[in-house]
């Protein structure tokens, strides 16, 4: 199953037979005080740096979140979409919990975007899926409902099934355009949650064969040496069936771990991309040395 995202002149395909899709998480002001202040003044210069760093790090899609309290998030989203699309031809993942922000962002976007995200709550499904359909976008589905974020992998799969049923049945969104988030929770708060995520991924793959993505940085929240944990967990999740992640594309350690998984799981035939990356790095080191 292929989820195809695009910008004006580039497409990216997410699939179980494709190289893992690295979605850069960095264009997000949550927890970044300075960035928030800049955004409230309408200053988007930080976005340019975040784009450049993530493109250099190997991002294939960029997540754009403008969630700044006490600011006009819809206007910021429109400005950010236009700015980022002028800087890079990577497809974008438009990230907000506010419907109007998603609508405005999708209207400004050129290409086929990924919407982050819809939950299995009836109200959210009814508000967001029509937008996804109207703009011909793809959407990330989070398997939580009005009551809870389920712990049990089988319940997560049920709620994912509900999202898929409503999106395909009621709104005519193709299943290829639904990317399910199996939910990666912080292991620092409970070390049993990693296994539950892996189980959910395997069940989702078996039952629906859909593409999947999760917020990889969540996993290591509150723990030391977060990059090593991320670099270990991602290949496990990829082996179970994860096909993309919203992750720190600036961390060579984490990005290399998924590139290595690509080789080891035969998503990088003959290791060509792996070898090419190695040569590029050698050439860079040589250049730096001379």
């Amino acid at each position: 199953m292929h989820t195809v995202l695009s910008s004006a002149n580039r497409t990216v395909t997410i699939g179980h037979d494709q190289p893992f899709c690295v979605i850069g998480e960095r264009i997000n002001p949550t927890g970044r005080k300075l960035f928030q202040e800049q955004l409230r003044r309408g200053d988007l210069s930080r976005v340019e740096i975040d784009v450049a760093e993530q493109v250099a790090g190997g991002a294939m899609v960029l997540d754009v979140n403008m969630g700044t309290p006490l600011a006009d998030e819809a206007a910021l989203m429109v400005s950010a979409v236009k700015l980022v699309q002028s800087l890079t031809d990577l497809p974008l993942c438009l990230d907000s919990s506010i419907i109007e922000v998603l609508d405005a962002g999708l209207a400004a976007y050129r290409g086929k975007a990924l919407v982050n995200s819809v939950t299995a709550e009836d109200e959210r499904l009814a508000a967001i899926l029509p937008l996804v359909k109207r703009h011909g976008a793809a959407v990330i589905g989070l398997p939580n409902d009005e009551r809870e974020i389920p712990d049990d992998p089988r319940r997560r799969v049920e709620l994912a099934g509900k999202i898929i049923d409503v999106a395909t049945g009621r709104y005519g969104i193709p299943i290829e355009d639904i990317v399910i988030d199996p939910l990666a929770m912080p292991i620092g708060a409970d070390t049993t949650v990693g296994i539950k995520t892996l189980e959910t991924i395997a069940l989702l793959r078996e039952k629906f064969g859909v593409n999947m993505t999760f917020g990889a940085s969540n996993v290591s929240f509150g723990m030391p040496d977060r990059h090593t944990l991320g670099a270990a967990f991602l290949p496990m999740a990829i082996a179970a069936g994860l096909t993309s992640a919203i992750m720190d594309a600036r961390s060579p350690q984490i990005v290399r771990s998924v590139k290595a998984a690509d080789v080891l799981l035969d998503h990088d035939p003959w290791g060509s991309a792996w070898i090419a990356a190695h040569r590029a790095q050698q050439a860079q080191a040589q250049q730096a040395g001379t």
């Binding site: 949550t30 927890g31 005080k33 928030q36 969630g67 309290p69 006490l70 998030e73 907000s96 919990s97 506010i98 939580n144 409902d145 009005e146 009551r147 809870e148 974020i149 929770m185 912080p186 620092g188 708060a189 070390t191 929240f221 509150g222 723990m223 030391p224």
Partner: protein, 222 residues
Amino acid sequence: MTPQELLKQLYDDTLVGNGPAVLELTHTGLAMNLGPEALLYEALIPALEEVGARFERGDFFVPEMLIAGKAMAGALEVLRPLLAETGAESIGTVVMGTVKGDVHDIGKNLVNIMFEGAGFQVIDLGVQVAPEKFVDAVREHSPDIIGFSAFLTTTMPMFKANINALAKAGLRDQVIVMVGGAPVTQEYADVVGADGYAADASAAVVRAKELLQRRRRAALPA
């Protein structure tokens, strides 16, 4: 073991979150006639304060904070009825909940554990808590502090709705309102009229104690 040695050991075991040892030392301490207040104020609370300080410095991590908080909570279950008998002033009562429309609870649960670890009594209303439920809980429990948690920019506005509901019920001045959650900032807390905000569970406890002390001092007759 001398009483001093016991208090030291209880402090050390709480710091590293050794729950069974903390429980056993608490019982041993009581059997040695160390009062519940001595155990609480000379070992358990200082240990949790040290945990918080280490967490703030980046020397301790979330799991260590959690197990220390849980070890402390185990001891408090034994001590709380005894403290009530001695008529000791309670450190404080906190009503906590994730706001309506929001089902995220990991952050809130961490904060609860740290509050319990600091000796507060915590009444957790869970997730998806409507304003009227918070109002009812303030009426029923007369807490010193009420905490609202929100994880989404779309649910943060419920802070204001909750505060308005408290005001309408005539309860706003009876309780300290604290807010928190991933997208929440100090500026946002100020704008909605909350009394306090903190960026993490450990800082929340420190802030709560400050706010409570200020209020209690203000309430003293001149």
